[in-house]
């Protein structure tokens, strides 16, 4: 019996940077065999300026040691294959015939230029499920416009709403559009796989990253369409609840989040703080009064939180039923006892980068992801080209001479 939902499913990952690789990683986590197809001339292994390596050492093969790449590609296989050469293209089509899914997030024109758009791939494999992820979509006046995830926070409307009072628009501290598009794409593939099991029908899924991110802002757009006003850049203020925000704690750059949206929560807050006299004041008696006087409320609360480490403040508030949490940095997230108890982190041994904890998946389903490292460059040329496609060792050497495959990136 299959141990994971996608056991027996094979996906080819042509993903670049973040969104495509994230989608394919979700499939690998669910049990699919994911094969990355990488170019020696353009390996896409996140080794440019700003790359992060173990102990800050790029080493002899930096393309096997980049944190960005190794986090997004754990659990996959990798081959090198130059799709711009006819021989590489022909081998890729043979591989497509043996696969179920292709994930790509090039600009809309690239697959066509390579002679590898959906109609061509479908001829090789009529049941294929192909996902094409682009910035603004494969049609419309902006179809050839490019964007990375961060820019789509701007173009979706998200950034205009986000920021400190009176300040400029801001974006999140992570490229938020990418994993969002990646998970939407994985969801699309799973739904299409179910349809294929019932009807045999393949699918070409077209995903515009901006549309995917806009889906996460649906109520704001529906509200705007219904005539609600836009309220850009309110810091952490809530439209009707107070106190609501982050408060400074004891120690440098330490904060606790506190959110009170019910009478019960307000009573709990009073108990946690030892029933201070200011909390009895008439102006804080009901929710409207607290919201109207939220700045004074925030000052009182901050005076209390400043005396406590964030975990201590959060613990005291939670003990009285108040929604509160320490604002955790990546090191603290990694040490979080709750995530650990959930089995969230995966300890993964990588042959060239060492053993480290990786973020896992937010769902628990059956066995969970297999803790396998990201592939070394060209690691699976033998498995894929010889075992799956039946090429001989001699043919492999000829391919290497022609520059179709390579053992290491060039340049």
């Amino acid at each position: 019996m299959a141990a994971r939902p996608l056991d027996g499913v094979r996906a080819l990952d042509l993903g670049q940077v973040y969104a495509g690789p994230f989608a394919a990683r979700a499939l690998a986590d669910l049990g699919a065999e994911v094969i990355r197809v990488e170019w020696a001339r353009r390996p896409g292994r996140a080794t440019g300026p700003g790359a992060v390596y173990p102990q800050d050492e790029p080493g002899a093969r930096p393309y096997n040691r980049s944190a960005y790449y190794n986090e997004l590609n754990r659990g996959k296989r990798a081959i090198s294959l130059d799709l711009s050469l006819e021989r590489g293209r022909a081998l890729f089509l043979r591989l497509v015939a043996l696969s179920d899914v292709v994930v790509e997030n090039f600009s809309p024109r690239v697959m066509g230029n390579l002679g590898l758009d959906y109609p061509v791939l479908r001829e090789a494999n009529p049941g294929l499920i192909m996902v094409s992820i682009s910035a603004y979509g494969a049609s419309g006046p902006w179809r050839d416009y490019g964007a990375y995830g961060p820019g789509l926070e701007a173009a979706s409307g998200l950034a205009s709403l986000m920021g400190y009072v009176g300040g400029p628009p801001l974006r999140l501290g992570v490229a938020y559009a990418d994993p969002t598009a990646g998970l939407h794409a994985a969801f699309a593939v799973l739904a299409a796989l179910r349809r294929r099991r019932r009807t045999g029908q393949g699918a070409h899924i077209e995903l515009a990253m901006r549309e995917s991110l806009t889906h996460m802002l649906g109520e704001l757009l529906v509200g705007r369409g219904l005539g609600a006003g836009e309220s850009p850049r309110q810091g952490n203020a809530h439209p009707f609840a107070a106190p609501h925000g982050v408060y400074p704690c004891k120690g440098e750059d330490t904060w606790v989040s506190i959110s009170v949206s019910t009478e019960e929560g307000w009573q709990g807050l009073g108990r946690a703080l030892g029933q201070p006299s200011w909390a009895q004041e008439e102006r804080f008696r009901d929710a409207l009064g607290r919201w109207q006087h939220r700045e004074e409320l925030d000052r009182h609360l901050a005076a209390w939180t400043r005396g406590l480490p964030p975990q201590e403040a959060a613990g005291r508030l939670q003990a009285e039923g108040v929604s509160a949490a320490a604002v955790q940095n990546p090191a603290e997230v990694l040490a979080d006892p709750q995530l650990a108890a959930q089995g969230f982190f995966l300890a993964i041994a990588h042959p060239e980068a060492g053993t480290h904890l990786h973020p896992g998946v937010p769902w628990r389903l059956g066995e969970g992801p297999e803790p396998r490292p990201a592939p070394l460059f060209a690691q699976d040329n033998g498995y894929v080209l010889q075992r799956l496609l039946g090429l001989t060792g001699e043919e492999l050497r000829a391919l290497e001479d022609e520059g179709v495959i390579a053992e290491a990136p060039q340049g």
Binding site: M1, L30, V52, W142, A159, R195, P330, L365
Partner: protein, 383 residues
């Protein structure tokens, strides 16, 4: 539709569970949403139209529940739980908020549903399992809040309940995967999603980066940890997002900045010299000029758009992304389209969210309740 024929019972309120149900409904699943007689609490949250709060006009509810059938049921009463068992017995998938009454009803089923999905703030077990959740608490403990905002200022939350959306999305992914496995093996599957973990799973390399170097990334405003220049800059008539990984020379030529070899070697290291020049350049142009000219040079600049501009956007219009929907109480309004399209199946016209108890007669009727039964149930406050 890819999920045609899949029957889903949604015992969830708020954002995460309903967003999961909405994604399933959008792909063709038949989703029956069960609300307490007072309604999903999302009906009391905004945004609301200028006419003010009204349980049938909450944009949050109208968005998250579009395309579902809606029934009311008091899971706290014995009759309600009996009815819930009959509803659940007909569903292949149950997306549940793990409240005691719903879980008791589910536990009493003769046969477990094919897939049971629950979403909790911190997980169903572990030291914080009983902690009071919330959007901010999930963003804070999951690590996204601490990375967002300007250095030296307080961490900043995102607009909208993003942590809960992410949990709903993760739940939809895992739910369909579980359906595939359950159908293949005949074994019922359980899915558990934690909102905190959903946040911690999208920190863009920050976790492994810390493991590799011992340095924890901090807040960087709108800038990017690995790419320079990258950020939101004021221009003549608004703001533009600049993101220029790669060749400094080409970017400098486009922006009219010095093509110095030392800057080209490591632009980030010269950010203090570059910033004032770049800012001045961008201020001299409109957002539209910068967007279009940048794109012609293949620099992925993006305009910072307001919601109003997004609603009127020519690209969205050309792709038919927003489609008008008619709701009996809220009127006509534009509904955002699905997050992806199947080329062989254009997105169908959007369907509105249900009015409170709108499908009681239809859904309970299909269970064999007569109209007299329905009157009795209503009088007893069960539906």
């Amino acid at each position: 539709m890819p999920l045609s024929g899949l029957s889903v019972l949604e015992l969830a309120q708020g954002v995460a569970g309903p967003y999961c149900g909405r994604l399933l409904a959008e792909q063709g699943a038949m989703v029956v949403k069960v609300e307490p007689p007072a309604g999903d609490y999302a009906r009391r949250l905004g945004p609301f139209p200028p006419s003010g709060p009204h349980p049938e006009r909450s944009a949050l509810y109208l968005w998250l529940n579009a395309g579902k059938q809606g029934v009311t049921l008091d899971a706290g009463s014995a009759t309600g739980r009996a009815l819930l068992r009959r509803l659940a017995a007909q569903a292949q998938v149950v997306v549940a908020r793990p409240d005691a009454a719903s879980l008791a009803a589910l536990a009493a089923l003769d046969e477990a549903p094919l897939v049971r999905t629950t979403i909790t703030w911190f997980g169903a077990d572990g030291p914080y399992r009983d902690y009071r959740g919330g959007e901010l608490a999930a963003l804070a403990s999951g690590g996204l809040l601490g990375l967002t905002g300007e250095p030296g200022r307080e961490p900043l939350a995102a607009p909208g309940p993003q942590a809960q959306y992410q949990a709903g999305l993760a739940a939809a992914v895992a739910t369909v995967a579980a359906v595939l496995r359950a159908e293949a093996t005949g074994q019922p599957q359980r899915v558990e999603v934690s909102v905190q973990a959903a946040v911690a799973s999208l920190l863009e390399g920050a976790i492994l980066g810390y493991g590799y170097t011992g340095r924890a990334r901090g807040r960087m405003g709108s800038r990017h940890p690995a790419v320079y220049p990258s950020g939101i800059y004021p221009c003549q008539d608004g703001y533009i997002h600049v993101h220029a990984p790669g060749d400094w020379g080409a970017f400098a030529r486009w922006a009219g900045l010095p093509e110095r070899a030392d800057w080209a070697a490591d632009p980030q290291a010269h950010a203090e010299e570059i910033e004032p020049l770049l800012s001045a350049r961008l201020r001299g142009h409109t957002r539209d000029e910068l967007f279009r000219q940048g794109q012609e040079w293949r620099f992925p600049l993006s305009p910072v758009l307001s919601l109003e501009e997004v609603l009127a956007d020519p690209q969205h219009q050309a792709r038919g992304y927003f489609q008008e929907v008619e709701h009996p109480a809220a009127g006509r309004f534009p509904m955002p389209g699905p997050p992806f399209r199947l080329e062989d199946a254009p997105p169908p016209a959007p369907r509105p969210a249900p009015m409170l108890g709108q499908h009681n007669a239809e859904v309970y009727g299909a269970l064999g309740c007569s109209s007299a039964d329905l009157v009795r149930l209503r009088e007893a406050g069960v539906i």
